[in-house]
């Protein structure tokens, strides 16, 4: 099977797009109220050790992604079962993100268009991208990234007159419970979701490069999230942040430069669609790879069409309304994602570490950092 090579830069871009993906439009970390910035920072700090574990697993087994590692160290039957679970997680995550976008477009822009239309279009696009392969997704990420950075910088610049620091006061007052709870939610969505990347990338050599890539993506993506949610909070205040489904949209609506530059909400769509498409196609790609591995197939693209159609049906029937979507995100998702984001990787790491050591003593570290992921 042909191995797909991504450069260091491409993976970082993909990680950033993946992290910002749907997070930027949804009301994340509402429990922290005005201290949302603290919750984001705490969540990033919490994610760093997990990301180190992810990177370590990948570099322990060069030339292999998570699926192949599972098979190698857990045996064919158990490994494939775990892979099936991971594929199911990626499949569900993809449906969730797809649903978020469908709801976003449906609620804010096109209330009369059936929810299925934007979803089916995004789904078909992700299906096509997956059929074309990871390199295509990565290259599209390279194109989207500067556009998103420009659009976000533009939005932030024009939002500055509306920022009011009073909306972030009082800082850190008897709110530790809320901050921790919000940080946990932010940990599971979006930061630790980067576990998906383990299913699609691999380290070519035993190097520290994987760690660097993962950390760079996490920190830059986290910084974008930090900036965006904090400024949104400072524009609309904790009460309205909590009360709305799509706070960023509400905040950008307030932009009005000299009665001339206004109604630029479409920029939020731009960011959301580009980043969201990347997230959807990466999840979908991971799901295809995972299922094909679990079924013992060598190739994955033949699964794209049937899985894509299934994906669409799954996403379209996932929730009846926006409230259910919000409730799932705030109450259930944390527990649903925990085994995939924390428990399984930790077990794999320990098992992998022991097995590698038993085989060849302490794993040597290659100093050659120019590795391809």
């Amino acid at each position: 099977m042909r191995r797909e090579l991504l450069s260091f830069k491409q993976i970082v871009y993909l990680l950033i797009l993946f992290i910002t993906g749907s997070t930027i439009i949804l009301p994340v970390g509402t429990e922290a109220k005005q201290d949302i910035w603290a919750a984001v920072i705490l969540a990033i700090v919490m994610t760093v050790p997990m990301v180190l574990v992810y990177a370590r697993i990948l570099s322990l087994f060069p030339e292999r992604n998570l699926l192949e590692i599972n098979e190698q160290i857990l045996g064919k039957i158990v490994g494939r079962f775990i892979n099936f679970m991971f594929a199911f997680y990626a499949f569900t995550l993809c449906a969730l993100v797809l649903d978020n976008f469908g709801q976003f477009i449906n609620v804010t822009a096109m209330p009369e268009t059936p929810l299925a239309i934007p979803m089916v279009i995004l789904c078909l696009l992700a299906l096509w991208a997956t059929k074309e392969g990871l390199e295509v997704i990565a290259r599209s990420g390279e194109i989207y990234f500067p556009i998103i950075v420009f659009a976000a910088a533009f939005t932030f610049l024009f939002l500055t007159p509306n920022l009011n620091i009073q909306r972030l006061q009082p800082p850190l007052h008897q709110n530790s419970e809320g901050i921790v709870s919000a940080a946990l939610h932010l940990f599971s969505f979006p930061f630790a979701e980067t576990v998906i990347f383990m299913m699609i990338i691999y380290s070519s050599k035993k190097t520290k490069a994987m760690t660097k890539v993962y950390l760079a993506g996490l920190v830059i993506g986290g910084a974008i999230i930090l900036l965006s949610v904090t400024s949104v909070m400072a524009v609309i205040g904790p009460e309205r942040y909590q009360a709305t489904y799509f706070p960023a949209y509400l905040a950008v609506q307030t932009i009005n430069v000299g009665d001339f530059l206004q109604r630029v909400e479409v920029v939020v769509f731009l960011i959301a669609i580009f980043a969201g498409f990347t997230k959807i196609s990466l999840c979908f790609y991971a799901a295809c790879k995972g299922f094909s591995n679990a079924l013992g197939c060598k190739e994955y693209p033949f699964l794209a069409v049937p899985l894509g159609l299934l994906e669409f049906l799954f996403a379209a029937n996932l929730f009846n309304n926006t409230k259910q979507m919000a409730r799932w995100a705030s109450e259930v998702y944390l527990y649903f994602a925990f085994p995939f984001q924390v428990a399984l990787p930790l077990i794999l790491w320990i098992v992998g570490e022991v097995k590698q050591r038993g085989r060849q003593g302490s794993p040597e570290v290659d100093l050659h950092d120019e590795s391809q992921g």
Binding site: V107, T108, A109, M110, P111, E112, T113, P114, I117, Q166, Q169, P170, H173, Q174, I236, G237, E239, R240, A243, L250, Q253, T254, N256, D259, Q262
Partner: protein, 390 residues
């Protein structure tokens, strides 16, 4: 084969692009009824909605006074149990679906506001088409629909006049312009009461015209009272929203002689402290002004004169502001100045000792200490008071 397939594909794409461009919700502008302003009244449990709809067929021959586009607004009335029902019932009268994204003002009648404004403002905030940047006003003493029924002399529609007025409210200093979004935030925020400007229809040269003056004070979601234009000015000072305006100051020598001061810039700092377990708010107002008018022949420009003038103005302003605070504390009991929010933001420890929902009881007992510091910058074009020859 390959080439012809390519050509076919290109033709197919062109066909699709040309014929299917646009979205599902595709609406031609001529199919829309663009709402520019709306008012909400209530009678017998029915919400009466009056909308000002732009008639895009204005035409050249109708071109009105200067600056006007010659657009003739049309008024429609509808009713329903809820706002949304009223909006949808309207379709049968208007003939087109109302388009709300360009609405500039929403006027709520005093009666509805007294009953509770959530029944109106929830729909405004929830609907995807309505923008939270729309102005909200309260009609004082009359039906909100009557405001839209007045005639604007310079503008095409009443809503446009009110919109322009509120956007340039900085020049009068007696108006507090509030958008629906800001109103929502203030209503939900701890320790602050929401405010909206009031509008009345006034007789001016035989015609009824709209006049925006003063402000309406809300406690929670209910209207509890009004402030007149002058009191609104003090409210602006207290909220640190004063930009430009006119102050009137009396001089010391002649009690009847007035000096008008124009405010260029103003900044208010509020801090809170505890005195005997009672919160006391210290307010410092720094105000940069210039002399705009002197109505008697007395000297207020020389060093001694201007010092006297500022001293007197400071004292007068302090008293007036304190009186306004006392009035609101005693009569309305709603914290439109945001003292509670100040305590919440800067002294959350004090805020924590107040039981939930108990701020309205504490607010009337809050002590205040107002310090005004007027600074004079010049006296416009003339360097001396106007003198009379012998």
């Amino acid at each position: 084969m390959k080439k012809s397939a390519c050509v076919l594909l290109v033709i197919w794409h062109l066909f699709v692009l040309w014929s299917m461009a646009g979205c599902w919700n595709f609406r031609e502008i001529r199919d829309l009824a663009v709402v520019i302003g709306a008012s909400f009244d209530k009678k017998d449990d029915q919400i009466y909605l009056t909308v000002e709809v732009l008639n895009p067929k204005g035409g050249e021959q109708d071109r009105g006074t200067s600056g006007s586009l010659g657009i003739k607004p049309q008024l429609f009335e509808g009713s329903g149990k809820t706002v949304f029902e009223a909006v949808r019932n309207m379709i049968s009268k208007v003939g087109r679906k109302l388009y709300w994204s360009h609405a500039r003002v929403f006027i709520v009648s005093e009666d509805v506001a007294k009953e509770g404004i959530i029944q109106i403002i929830d729909w405004i905030n929830r609907d995807a088409e309505v923008r939270p940047q729309t102005w909200i006003l309260v009609s004082k003493g009359q039906a909100a629909g009557d405001i839209l029924r007045t005639r604007s002399k310079l503008f095409d529609t009443v809503s446009m006049q009110i919109d322009t007025l509120l956007r340039s409210q900085g020049n009068s200093g007696k108006l507090l312009a509030v958008t629906v979004g800001d109103f929502m935030e203030e209503m939900q925020k701890p320790g602050v009461g929401a405010v909206a400007p009031t509008v009345e229809s006034m007789k001016d040269e035989r015609e009824q015209i709209p006049e925006v003056t003063g402000s309406a004070l809300f406690r929670e979601e209910r209207l509890v009272g009004f402030l007149n234009g002058e009191e609104t000015m003090y409210l602006l000072f207290l909220r640190n929203q004063m930009k430009k305006g006119t102050l009137i100051a009396a001089t010391a020598d002649h009690p009847k002689a007035n000096v008008s001061l124009e405010v260029f810039r103003s900044h208010t700092i509020k801090t809170v402290r505890l005195v005997d377990d009672r919160p006391v708010v210290d307010i410092w107002i720094d105000c940069l002004t210039g002399i705009a008018e002197i109505s008697k022949e007395n000297d207020v420009i020389s060093e001694r004169g201007s010092q006297k003038l500022t001293e007197r103005t400071n004292e007068r302003l302090q008293n007036k502001i304190t009186d306004t605070i006392k009035k609101v504390q005693k009569e309305y009991g709603t914290d439109v100045f945001g003292f509670g929010n100040l305590i919440y933001r800067e002294r959350p420890d004090i805020w924590g000792t107040i039981p939930k929902g108990g701020w309205s009881k504490v607010f009337p007992t809050v002590g205040t200490n107002v310090n005004v510091n007027i600074m004079l910058r010049g006296s416009a074009k003339l360097s001396e008071p106007t003198r009379v020859g012998e």
